[in-house]
C-alpha cells in the first residue's frame, strides 16, 4: 500500500539529540525503528501522525548485546535476527533466542527490534513471554533522565504500556539469576512462519532452581503463571491433569479470528504439559 498521508520524518543521529527533539514534540510524534508493526498499521488507521521519528540511526548507541555487571543487557535496537543468532544469548538466555527465532520470517527478523516488540506490546508479541519468564527489566529514557521498570510493570494491556510520550525504550536487562542456557519456548500458529501466535509458552529454570512460566496470546498481555510456578516448585504436580487448574487460572483467553477461547484453554494446558515434561519438571500421564 502507498502511504498517501504525508508526514515529516525526523532522523536524529544521537540519543541525546533524539530525546531533546522529543521534548519539543508535544508528545504527538510516532516512533519507528524496524517498522514491521508500524507501517502496516499506518496504512490502515485514520488519524495518521504528522511526524515520525526514525530511531534506526541510533544503532551505534542502542544496538548491542553484552554482559553488564553479571546481567545481560540488550539494546532496544537489537533485531530479532541478531538476538536469535547471538552466541551470548544462546548461552545465557536461550529462551529469548528461541522466541526471537520464531518471529515472523527472516525478512521480518532482519528488521524488527526487541524495543519495538516491547513498545508495540501486542498480546501475542513473541519476545514478551520469554522476557517475563526471565524477569527482565526495561530502561526508559527521556531528556531529563532514565528509569528502570520491571517488564511486568511496563506491560499494561493490548498495545498499552507505561511508556510516556516523551520516552523511548533504551535497553532490556535480564538479571544474573535468570541467566541459564536451558529453557523452552513454544509458539502455536496457524502455520510454521509468518504467523501471529495463537498461544505461546516460555519456561525457564533459573540459577536458584526455581521454575518460571509465562504465556503469550492467552490474556490481554503476556503473563506469568505464578500459582503454577509455586505448584511446580513445591513438587505438587504430576501429569497433565494436575497442572490443568493452575494453567486455567493463569490465563484469560478470548475468541478471535485465529482461535476460540475454548481451543486456547485446551492448547495452553497441552503446551504447558509438553514443555514441562520435556524439561523433566512433571511426570508423564494425564
Amino acid at each position: 500500500m502507498v502511504l498517501i498521508f504525508p508526514f515529516t520524518v525526523i532522523r536524529p543521529q544521537t540519543v541525546p539529540q533524539a530525546l531533546k527533539l522529543l521534548d519539543s514534540s508535544g508528545g504527538r510524534w510516532q516512533m519507528i525503528a524496524g517498522g514491521t508493526d508500524l507501517i502496516p498499521r499506518l496504512s490502515k488507521e485514520s488519524g495518521q501522525p504528522s511526524t515520525v521519528m526514525d530511531l534506526s540511526p541510533l544503532g551505534p548507541e542502542l544496538n548491542y548485546i553484552r554482559l553488564d555487571g553479571g546481567a545481560l543487557a540488550i539494546g532496544a535496537l537489537a533485531t530479532h535476527d541478531e538476538i536469535a543468532r547471538s552466541a551470548l544469548v544462546g548461552e545465557q538466555a536461550a529462551v529469548l533466542a528461541k522466541a526471537c527465532q520464531v518471529v515472523g520470517s527472516q525478512q521480518i527478523r532482519n528488521r524488527g527490534t526487541i524495543g519495538g516488540n516491547l513498545a508495540n506490546a501486542s498480546p501475542a508479541g513473541d519476545t514478551l513471554p520469554a522476557l517475563l519468564a526471565l524477569d527482565a527489566s526495561v530502561r526508559l529514557a527521556r531528556s531529563s533522565g532514565s528509569r528502570i521498570v520491571p517488564l511486568d510493570q511496563f506491560l499494561v494491556g493490548p498495545g498499552q504500556t507505561i511508556l510516556e510520550r516523551d520516552e523511548i525504550v533504551c535497553e532490556i536487562e535480564i538479571p544474573a539469576v535468570s541467566l541459564v542456557s536451558g529453557g523452552g519456548f513454544t509458539k502455536l500458529g496457524l502455520r510454521n512462519a509468518l504467523a501471529i501466535a495463537i498461544a505461546s509458552v516460555a519456561v525457564v529454570v533459573d540459577r536458584e532452581n526455581r521454575c518460571r512460566v509465562a504465556y503469550g496470546s492467552l490474556a490481554p498481555r503476556a503473563v506469568r503463571a505464578r500459582g503454577l510456578e509455586d505448584a511446580i516448585n513445591n513438587r505438587e504436580l504430576d501429569g497433565r491433569d494436575s497442572l490443568r487448574p493452575y494453567v486455567l487460572r493463569a490465563i484469560s483467553p478470548i475468541t478471535d479470528i485465529r482461535a476460540s477461547d475454548e481451543y486456547r484453554r485446551a492448547v495452553a494446558v497441552n503446551l504447558t504439559y509438553i514443555s514441562l515434561y520435556e524439561m523433566g519438571l512433571t511426570g508423564g500421564g494425564g
Binding site: M1, V9, D81, Q106, R111, A193
Partner: protein, 156 residues
C-alpha cells in the same frame, strides 16, 4: 528529503517525499519492477530486496531509512547477460512458473548463501519461509537453491 545510497553497486541519489516506501521508490523512481507489492504488509515476501546483506521486505521500509546503505534488487544479480548461479538453477530446476514470487524468492536465497554457502534443506526452508509461492509447491525452488549451493553448480 534527499537520500544517497548504493543501488546494485552504483551510487545513486533520490529526492523523495518522507512517507515514500522503499518498494515504491525502487519501482516508480528507479523503474526496477522486479520487487512486487504482493500484500503490502510483509506477509508474502514478493517485495524482498537485500539491504546491507540482509533480506528485507521493502514494503515495510521507509525509503529514507536506506540512506547510506547498500541495496541489491533482482536486477542487480546478473552481470549483463551472465546470470547468477541461483538464477540459472531456478531455470534448470523448474523453480519458476508464473514468476511473481521469483525475484523475492531468489533474493532471500541469495542472502542466505551470502552468509551460509552450504545450507541444509532445513536452513533453506527457514530462510525462504517468508516468501510465499502459489504455483510451484516449493519443492523445485528448494532443489534450485540446493543446486546453486552445491560445490559444482554447473554439473547436472
Amino acid at each position: 528529503m534527499k537520500i544517497q545510497f548504493t543501488l546494485n553497486d552504483q551510487g545513486v541519489n533520490a529526492e523523495i517525499e518522507p512517507q515514500t516506501l522503499l518498494l515504491h521508490l525502487l519501482r516508480d523512481g528507479f523503474d526496477l519492477t522486479g520487487a512486487k507489492e504482493g500484500c503490502g504488509q510483509g506477509e508474502c515476501g514478493a517485495c524482498t530486496v537485500i539491504v546491507d546483506g540482509k533480506a528485507i521486505n521493502s514494503c515495510l521500509v521507509l525509503a529514507c531509512q536506506v540512506d547510506g546503505k547498500e541495496v541489491i534488487t533482482i536486477e542487480g544479480l546478473s552481470r549483463g547477460n551472465l546470470l547468477d548461479p541461483l538464477q540459472e538453477a531456478f531455470i534448470s530446476e523448474g523453480g519458476v512458473q508464473c514468476g511473481y514470487c521469483t525475484p523475492g524468492m531468489i533474493l532471500s536465497a541469495k542472502a542466505l548463501l551470502m552468509r551460509n554457502p552450504h545450507p541444509t534443506l532445513a536452513e533453506i526452508k527457514e530462510a525462504l519461509a517468508g516468501n510465499l509461492c502459489r504455483c510451484t509447491g516449493y519443492i523445485k525452488i528448494f532443489r534450485a537453491v540446493e543446486k546453486a549451493a552445491s560445490p559444482c553448480p554447473e554439473a547436472d
